[in-house]
């Protein structure tokens, strides 16, 4: 029953597997991306529960009903930091990040769902705090990275918003954001 035991080490060799995938940006994300490039952040408001989702999913995950363009609402480009971390990037094959950076979850003014993976700049990393108020730093048309309608990295915002910086407003009290940690 037992396998043959040997002192010889099993030999390994690296095998790089290369598979190509097409990233398809769905119509709803393409629309969101287009609106972002026009300087607008537009979400969808569920006709049943009234919650506003940014970016829009095309449905309400709580009510499980489909949402369309007629459910669109604009939200502001100011937000509260609900949680964050300071990342020390792990150097794996394909990693482009080298320096420490802040990733935060934000709740945009006017939205009910929070957005994640947002970068915060303009403040020493270790001074970032929960409840801090931030505003979007928009990229100029020249600065915008990525192709038109390309993907949903950074929750779709990185196409047009470079990062967020402190707005200088007083912090939001914990009770108001603690339901939006994620």
């Amino acid at each position: 029953m037992t396998d043959q035991q040997t002192d010889e080490k099993v030999a390994f060799m690296p095998q790089m597997v290369n598979l190509e995938y097409r990233i398809v940006t769905s119509p709803i994300h393409q629309r969101f991306d287009k609106q972002m490039r026009e300087g607008r952040i537009v979400g969808q408001k569920c006709p049943s529960c009234g919650l506003v989702f940014v970016p829009p999913k095309g449905f309400c995950p709580l009510c499980a009903i489909v949402m369309t363009e007629k459910d669109e609402v604009a939200v502001k480009d100011t937000a509260t930091v609900t949680s964050f971390t300071v990342i020390t990037p792990i150097q794996y094959q394909g990693q482009k990040e080298r320096e420490e950076y802040v990733l935060a979850n934000l709740i945009l003014d006017g939205a009910d769902s929070s957005i994640g993976q947002q970068r915060i700049e303009g403040i020493p990393h270790h001074d970032v705090r929960m409840g801090m108020r931030v505003k979007a730093v928009w990229a100029t048309p020249e600065e915008r990275a990525g192709e038109e309608g390309g993907g949903m990295r950074g929750w779709g915002l990185t196409a047009a918003v470079k990062h967020w910086e402190p707005s200088g407003e007083p912090d939001t009290p914990r009770e108001q954001y603690q339901e939006h940690i994620l």
Binding site: Y92, Q93, Q95, R174, E179, L182
Partner: protein, 381 residues
């Protein structure tokens, strides 16, 4: 309408950063053969295999049950593969248990594994793209929110990290062996995803864990003590929506309430002798102690401060060393369930908790949104 089911054999590999002495099949067979030997069975006695592991891109083998069928003796037998993110080791054991409880199968081998040295997890989690922050980067904000909410002293996380690694010294299979670890050392170590330090994070391990689940008829004939499954439960919740609390997820509470209800546990801290819960980053211990009802909201950290979750305490937690000491992701959840079973069988050797009769195994995954738990006991249900 349920067949009483027990764990009649367990086996695991020596978990290490790199098991370059075995192929993936070999790794699984090391655990499976130990489980079969413990169960006093042979490959031919097994009716079905249920295998679980984390995302396929971690090793670069799609649907590995197809490749592994031969190594796991499945020519002519059923093999299926469960995948529920990090909780997979637990939910795999739950599926295997259902197969026996339903009467569909009599003896089921369940196995979870990960051979992370043959891939790159951080790469895998990022879908092969730049900017992957790994699990730690994802969970760090939640841990920060817990510390803030509970006003927990900052040495609590390090204390858990030390406890689990010292426990691991008593577990011959555990990966990390850090006999000299101290709270000061952990607090001095650098952050990876602030507020989480490297020494407060789980390793990546190559490893496998296996159990043989059998019906009452088979278990009664066993010459060794068995671990009776009194309750199992799984819960999933949406990962992100307005009003979600990822720090104290409803899914975890509901999962615990389900198993406690079916196992007759009404006062967890007193009714449970040993807890094996899924703690990949130190702060998850106080968080889960609260989420699973062992401590009131905001008070989980006090159980650590008073050393009640230490080996000699009221609720020894992760005496195996836990995920913080060994983390072959696909097996980690199953190891929690396995260690719980070992305890109530009285077969945990050096890390046996004296007189353990009721143990809880717990696993979680995804955005702290998938949960799997079981309650095992020395006595039959």
């Amino acid at each position: 309408m349920s067949v009483k089911t027990a764990v009649v054999g367990v086996g695991q590999t020596h978990h290490k950063k790199v098991r370059d002495d075995l192929s993936m099949a070999g790794l699984l067979r090391e655990a499976a053969i130990r489980a079969l030997e413990d169960a006093e069975m042979e490959w031919k006695d097994i009716d079905a295999v249920v295998i679980g592991k984390a995302p396929d891109p971690f090793e670069g083998v799609m649907m590995p049950e197809v490749y592994l069928a031969d190594a796991l003796g499945c020519a002519g037998k059923p093999i299926m593969r469960v995948h529920t993110a990090g909780s997979v080791g637990g939910s795999t054991a739950v599926v295997a248990t259902h197969l026996v409880q339903s009467g569909v199968r009599e003896r089921v081998l369940t196995i979870g594994f990960e051979k992370q040295s043959e891939g790159d997890t951080t790469w895998g989690l990022g879908g092969g793209r730049s900017g992957s922050v790994g699990a730690g980067g994802y969970f760090a904000p939640h841990m920060r929110a817990y510390i803030d909410r509970a006003n927990a002293p900052d040495y609590i996380g390090p204390a858990v990290a030390v406890k689990d690694r010292l426990n691991a010294l008593k577990n011959p299979y555990a990966h990390l062996k850090l006999p000299d670890i101290t709270i000061e050392q952990v607090m001095d170590s650098p952050y990876v995803w602030e507020p989480v330090r490297r020494l407060e994070s789980c390793p990546t391990s190559d490893g496998a864990a296996a159990m043989v689940l059998a019906s009452e008829k088979v278990a009664d004939a066993s010459s060794k003590p068995v671990a009776w499954v009194h309750a199992t439960a799984v819960r999933s919740e949406l990962g992100q929506f307005p009003g979600r609390d990822p720090v104290d997820p409803q899914g975890g509470r509901d999962c615990a309430a389900d198993v406690y209800g079916h196992a007759g546990i009404t006062d967890p801290i007193n009714d449970v002798d040993v807890l094996e819960c899924y703690v990949p980053f130190s702060w998850y211990e106080p968080m889960w102690l609260e989420n699973l009802g062992f401590a009131a909201e905001g008070e989980g950290w006090k159980l650590i401060e008073s050393e009640e979750t230490n080996f000699g305490g009221k609720l020894p937690t992760n005496v195996s060393g836990g995920v913080l000491s060994s983390n072959p992701i696909g097996a980690s959840g199953m190891l929690r369930f396995l260690e719980a079973a070992l305890q109530v069988r009285g077969m945990a050797g050096e890390h046996q908790v004296e007189g353990a009769k009721t143990a809880v195994g717990h696993a979680y995954g995804g955005a702290a949104q998938f949960f799997a738990m079981w309650v095992v006991r020395t006595e039959k249900p």
